[in-house]
Symmetry: C2
DNA sequence: CTTGAACCTGACATCGGTGTCAGGTTCTAC
DNA sequence: GTAGAACCTGACACCGATGTCAGGTTCAAG
């Protein structure tokens, strides 16, 4: 498939796909004319790249772990070195902290939302709105 | 207390504290000479600001919900309008998705780490390392 | 009064993924 | 062969919290 279709199927912009390639995260064959051509497995790969980006990993980090992933896309499947595993553990901790932070923030939002809902209910019931 | 101490006690840089003030998230009294002076409650407030930043909210969003928070720091404690509550719900969903993404990424990392650990164990035991 | 730490304002830099525009080429279908 | 969609490369802009530097002022302690 070509880049437009890949973009559509993954929900990632064409621009980003080109960027991933530039970062060495994604490869493509080229048509004689120079257009990018992707196999089916590219879809999974792009999605995985997105998940990792969403976790706050940068291109370099993603580049280092992609080859180690159980790849249904048939990559070389190297294994992580002890050194890399160390980095990943640090990354994992960072993610843990981030999840905790997010859950905390969610609680905060819920409090505010709950308070607003009460206000709204009061207004609905015809009571004087708090001000 | 002055800005240096507040920075130390909250773990936030002096630069950031000035930025928060510029964004209207934090207020300070000034000494006759112009130095910022904070009360005890500033500590909690800064920490809450940080939590919200960590959740990916921007200054504007934080500015809008801070006054609605159950404030032990004695702010005016307005209540959220229906409009704001709507935004917050959207924000909440974004956070939910982000948490899900992070957990997914964590799983991915764990797989890679686990594979690396197996390799290491094999090396330790004197077997030929996989290559 | 002096000295050094802490503070002030203002400006500029950074990071990295993504948007967008320009100007040109390729592909597909008629 | 031709039109129009899709693609190519390259370059620049952005966001937004934070780092950092410069040049100057204030504070607290001796």
């Amino acid at each position: 498939m070509r880049i437009g279709e890949l973009a559509r199927r993954t929900g990632v912009s064409v621009r980003s796909l080109r960027y991933y390639e530039q970062q060495g995260l994604l490869v493509s064959d080229r048509t004689p004319g120079g257009h990018r051509e992707y196999g089916e497995r590219a879809v999974d790969r792009v999605i995985r790249i997105q998940v990792l980006y969403a976790a706050g990993l940068n291109s370099r980090a993603i580049d280092s772990i992609l080859p180690c992933m159980r790849d249904e896309d048939g990559g070389p499947n190297e294994h992580a070195t002890a050194r890399l595993a160390q980095d990943l553990r640090a990354e994992r901790e960072r993610i843990d902290r981030q999840i905790a932070d997010l859950m905390r923030s969610r609680e905060i939002l819920d409090e505010v939302i709950a308070a607003a809902d009460v206000d709204e209910a009061l207004e609905m019931s015809g009571a004087n709105a708090a001000r």
